[in-house]
């Protein structure tokens, strides 16, 4: 079943990095975003240092991490629809490759790129992370990978329903980006009106944000079993749906 997986994954990474916009969009932009936002907030004289500190410490890295996840999902949707439209998926199926292997390779590529972007962000923005903060980077990376992995399954559902590659990016963005607004990223969900609070509980991004914020601030994993369970559930549901409706051509 794994025959060809690593070679296909490696080739997909190389092909992705050769795409001029692909690499810039999903790796360079989040890193720049992190640095620019951290500097901006750090330089605001009007903001009390405690609040500025909290934003830089938690809000900015979590926001950028969510952007990393969502752009990985969008990029997956686009690539899958282009591959379907141009017959690449069909050509790969006319080999002993298992269909699951082809899709797994794309998930692995996105997870590797997510981890790489996060590492770059941490390296490039090291001085904006306060020295005494003790951010559990390994746990945070794992949390981000869990969130991305779960969200990529939404990507496959979206890739199954977009009619053509041209619509992949806009449809994906319309489905994914509005979730940012009420996911607890900018405003704690408890401050939202009750009706909207109900909605946030249904939107999967809320669990990603809650997990990332908690882990970044040093929560134990045991405090976020609910978030992880929700994300695993999301993966199972979306994978089941896309197994039924996924089109290869």
């Amino acid at each position: 079943m794994l025959r060809g997986l690593w070679k296909l994954t490696w080739i997909e990474i190389k092909v992705f990095l050769r795409e001029p916009l692909g690499a810039i969009g999903s790796i360079v932009i989040p890193v720049i975003l992190f640095i620019v936002m951290s500097r901006m907030l750090g330089n605001l004289p009007a903001m009390p240092p405690a609040i500025a500190n909290k934003y830089i410490r938690v809000a900015v890295p979590v926001f950028v991490s969510v952007i990393i996840t969502l752009s990985a999902v969008l990029s997956l949707v686009t690539i899958i629809s282009i591959y379907r439209e141009s017959g690449i998926l069909k050509r790969l199926r006319a080999t002993p490759l298992r269909p699951q292997t082809i899709l797994t390779a794309h998930v692995v590529v996105k997870l590797i790129l997510t981890a790489a972007t996060l590492s770059l962000m941490v390296l490039a923005g090291k001085r904006y992370i306060p020295a005494g903060a003790h951010v559990p980077l390994l746990s945070f990376t794992i949390a981000l990978l869990i969130g991305t992995w779960s969200f990529l399954s939404i990507g496959f559902v979206i890739a199954s329903i977009v009619p053509t590659a041209r619509f992949a990016q806009p449809i994906g963005a319309v489905i994914l980006y509005p979730m940012i607004g009420i996911s607890g990223l900018f405003l704690p969900t408890t401050l939202l009106p009750p009706a909207i609070q109900g909605l946030t509980r249904v939107l999967p991004l809320t669990y990603v944000v809650s997990l990332l914020q908690g882990i970044w601030m040093g929560d134990a994993w045991s405090a976020h079993i609910g978030d992880v369970t929700a994300l695993v559930l999301l993966f199972v549901i979306c994978t089941t749906i896309s197994a039924r409706i996924f089109r290869w051509e």
Partner: protein
Amino acid sequence: MNTPVIEVSRIRKTYGKTVAVDEVSFSVNEGEIFGLIGPNGAGKTTTMECIEGIRKPDGGTISVLGLDPFRQAYQLQERIGVQLQQAQLQKRIKVWEAVDLWASLYRKKAVTAEHLLEQLGLTDKRNAWFMNLSGGQKQRLFIALALINDPEVVFLDELTTGLDPQARRAIWELVRGIRGRGKTVFLTTHLMEEAERLCDRVAIIEHGRILDIGTPARLVDRYCPERTVVLTTEDLTADEWFRSMTGVEAVTRTGNQFTIRGLGEDLVTEVIQCLSENRIKVAEFRTILPNLEDVFLKLTGQAIRE
């Protein structure tokens, strides 16, 4: 030589109300180049993709190398090579990477990638991106991918569509080479010239139905037995001699040019005999022989659309 490697029996495939393949049956023998020929939309690709196991027919049975292409898909893929119509690869995959990836997908490691690239004239292009290859180079790469596992049966779908005549001829040579190594080739084409030059046997398909199967020569004899000889001579007595020949149906004359029409492959020989027996001096002599294009016209009442 006459063992069937592909046996198709009464397969059927519909898309909504459209019947794409309608009770199609045929068999392909070991070591031959078999062509499924017909216009675009006749059901060629659907039929081929059912045999390759990437599409499931609604009814009928298929056996390839003794395997069921749908239930034993992975076993079958190990032993066949496939080139799909209008397939693409990743735009920025390099030629050697594609060949290397494909080589890693099969258990059997019989062909070396470098040797294959050399054979197909792609060695210079091994570091080129797929998107920068010409149409002919892309097709040669797809042939390389189809041959990487040293397959027993090779499927080629509209292999030379969109290529210039020179590239087309080069690809035909390659396909003959595949047969030369003992492989069976199953191809589709809407180019009658391609079918005539390349195929040992052809099946003519139209609207999802097989109209007839045979060698190109036999199909031409069966449906278009008429032969035509055009010659020019100063000898005006010739007219009489031609008309008295057996098998001649019509003789027309424009100035010094005679057009003799008749049935059967003996016509040409008889005309030559008649010329020499009667010592008729000829300045120009040519024959017009019907081809698969004419067979198709006869069978369907319409010319094949390019």
